[in-house]
């Protein structure tokens, strides 16, 4: 984090936030996730990074934190179930719509699973190598390839089955 100037840092934060938004599909949760990622990165600063490996490293931290959060949610749901409070409600992802233009492309993308969204973001949007994506997601490179194949097929299907809406409208 020492070799970066303000501009590069802001851009990096924005990328992290974009990744977090598509994982959580919820702006508040995404901001918390970015914040927690930066905190974690600061506390592990002993592992010095050059600018190139900083980005995949931060994505890795963010993704791990996201998974931890999911695990805690499931634990919490089980705990509530034990307490007879029933299953905690599944997050609906409705809020993401308030920040997404109602574009067919993004709507199709939003319907992919969190794992598929994460992988397409890393490979197609962030331009990470397959190796970096595998490290970030903590899966073997072979799994990256087969998941990529499924994700692209699924996106294709969703895009084709979803004709462009007559007019674009911004959901607020």
């Amino acid at each position: 984090m020492h070799d970066l100037d303000d501009q590069q840092w802001r851009e990096l934060l924005q990328r992290l936030r974009r990744f977090a938004l598509w994982l959580t599909r919820e702006p508040g949760g995404a901001d918390d996730l970015v914040q927690a990622t930066v905190e974690r990165a600061l506390s592990r600063r002993g592992q010095q990074r050059d600018a190139d490996s900083l980005r995949p490293w931060l994505f890795t931290i963010l993704y791990r934190l996201f998974l931890d959060g999911k695990r805690r949610e499931r634990l919490h749901a089980r705990w509530l179930a034990w307490f007879g409070r029933g299953q905690a409600e599944e997050p609906t992802g409705g809020e993401i719509e308030s920040i997404v233009l109602a574009q067919a492309d993004l709507r199709a993308f939003a319907r992919l699973s969190a794992e598929q969204r994460a992988l397409l973001l890393l490979v197609s949007v962030e331009g990470l190598s397959y190796k970096e994506a595998a490290d970030t997601l903590g899966i073997p490179i072979g799994t990256v390839m087969s998941r990529l194949s499924r994700a692209r097929a699924a996106l294709r299907e969703l895009t084709e089955g979803n004709p462009t809406p007559p007019a674009l409208r911004r959901l607020k």
Partner: protein, 250 residues
């Protein structure tokens, strides 16, 4: 023209421009004579392009001052100094020994995880609920139930001297195994709970103590195979006496 038909993985690598130049040229040539596959590749590529376009600028927001670089660097420095200071405090406390040392140790150990937080949470959820597993105003019945689920637990003391009668109990669970909430109440309907569970990894040798959590007071201790917590209202004067009575007999 080409020796090998590209694999599905190679086709993806082609889209992502991750193929070696030589192989890339071969795949390109193969696609030229396989228009169906070429169309499929072009569709993937189009999807990726549209995704990039749609997401450009996505996630932009007014910059969060807390995440600006200068304050972050400042916080890094402060954190280093804080660590040094903490280490110094700990050394000092250990040097002084006795109570001071113990408290510092406890504060360090449990910063970040509150002892028996699950007990307080269980009390909040259930002490006033009518959904207890068993309704037992008879102490003997409650004791029998407890013995069934926790076979190495002692005797529940008679708490009627403090004006408390059993209401019932609820069996719970956490990662370490079963846990239970036993609920007592006085004539005014004020409830006190006893929570017990097998020790989790963090609380194996949990020191006795107490803490306030909102309107609730948790007094906790370990004995035999279990961790215990008595959860009562902060202003309930009986808390300490009941805690002692329980500590003696359980």
């Amino acid at each position: 023209m080409t020796r090998l038909i590209p694999t599905e993985h190679e086709l993806h690598a082609y889209v992502d421009e991750r193929l070696e130049p030589a192989r890339r040229a071969e795949v390109e040539a193969w696609l030229a004579v396989n228009p169906e596959d070429a169309a499929r590749i072009e569709a993937w590529r189009g999807d990726a392009r549209r995704l990039r376009a749609a997401l450009a600028g996505f996630g932009e927001q007014p910059s969060d001052p807390a995440l600006d670089l200068a304050p972050l660097r400042r916080r890094l420095r402060q954190r280093r100094q804080w660590r040094l200071a903490q280490a110094a405090v700990l050394l000092l406390a250990v040097g002084l020994g006795g109570l001071g040392g113990w408290q510092a140790r406890e504060a360090t150990l449990f910063a970040g995880m509150l002892p028996m937080a699950d007990a307080v949470e269980a009390h909040r959820l259930f002490a006033d609920a009518s959904t207890l597993d068993i309704q037992a105003s008879d102490p003997a019945r409650l004791q029998a139930w407890l013995g069934r689920h926790f076979n190495r637990v002692g005797q529940l003391p008679d708490l009627s001297g403090y004006g408390l009668q059993p209401v019932g109990a609820r069996l719970l669970s956490n990662e370490a195994g079963p846990a239970a909430l036993l609920v007592f109440q006085d004539r005014q309907g004020l409830r006190i709970s006893l929570f017990l569970r097998s020790p989790g990894e963090h609380f194996e040798r949990m020191p006795s103590g107490q803490r306030t959590d909102g309107q609730l007071q948790a007094r906790y201790w370990s004995h035999g195979d279990y961790n215990f917590a008595l959860v009562s209202a902060v202003d309930d004067a009986r808390g300490e006496q009941v805690r002692r009575a329980l500590g003696v007999s359980l």
